[in-house]
Amino acid sequence: MNGWPALDRFLRTDPRDVGCAQAMEMLHVYAELVAAGEPAEERYPGIAAHLHACGPCGEDFAGMLAALRDAPG
């Protein structure tokens, strides 16, 4: 933790955050939108808020994007 601003960022919670279950439920749809360059954050702001805040779900999302970008066709 790097000082008060970092602590403040860490402790802040986003009321739009949908939580892990809902984010995981739609992760494949969200990841495809992002991979296609669509405005996924605007369409699913609650999922975007969650993926920014939740390390494990964010990691799964990053893995999904890497898989989609490497996948043929």
Binding site: M1, G3, W4, L7, D8, F10, L11, R12, T13, D17, G19, C20, A21, M24, M26, L27, H28, V29, A31, E32, A53, C54, G55, P56, C57, E59, D60, A62, G63, M64, A66, A67, L68, D70, A71
Partner: protein, 195 residues
Amino acid sequence: MTGPLLAGRPQPPMQDELLLRIARRELARRGPRLAITGPELDDLAYQAAADALLAITGKVRQFRGESRFTTWAYKCVMLEVSAKIGRHFWRHPSVPLGTEQWGAAAGPVRLRPSARGGVAGPGRRRAPGRGHRAHPRQREVFAAIVVNGVPLDALVVSLGSSRGAIYKVMFDARRKLRAALAANGYLPDDAARDS
């Protein structure tokens, strides 16, 4: 976990091969941060791919066609990879669980506002209400993750819980701790600013 992929390591069918490839690639992507290498990493990939296949088979009726099927299948692989990494963490348990180090996490609370230039004057300081106090479960989870550095998915295994449940506990703990710090003038009070 004893899926067909693990039993003597046969040549996997094509769909298994895709899952295994994705699992291997994902573990390689996360590898540098995991301190897992070589055969152990490959074992995890086989386990994750085999369990992902079981999950896909069991949940295939839940697929609603909102994405490509392979994308949905990749999600199953990612979730299994995360679960396997969470379990693997406890094979080398160097991290104690408990709230004995909670004081370290609460360290910043003991600072005076003036020590960092003062966000708020003394007049704004007030005693935190009961709603700002963390429950024992919140303290336990917060201390494990923030103080002891236990990965959330590993804590899920240790506590026999779910990622969503642990995240919710952390979410509430973060909100309460921030409210308490704001009430005492250590952090900006958003409620006061917005009113």
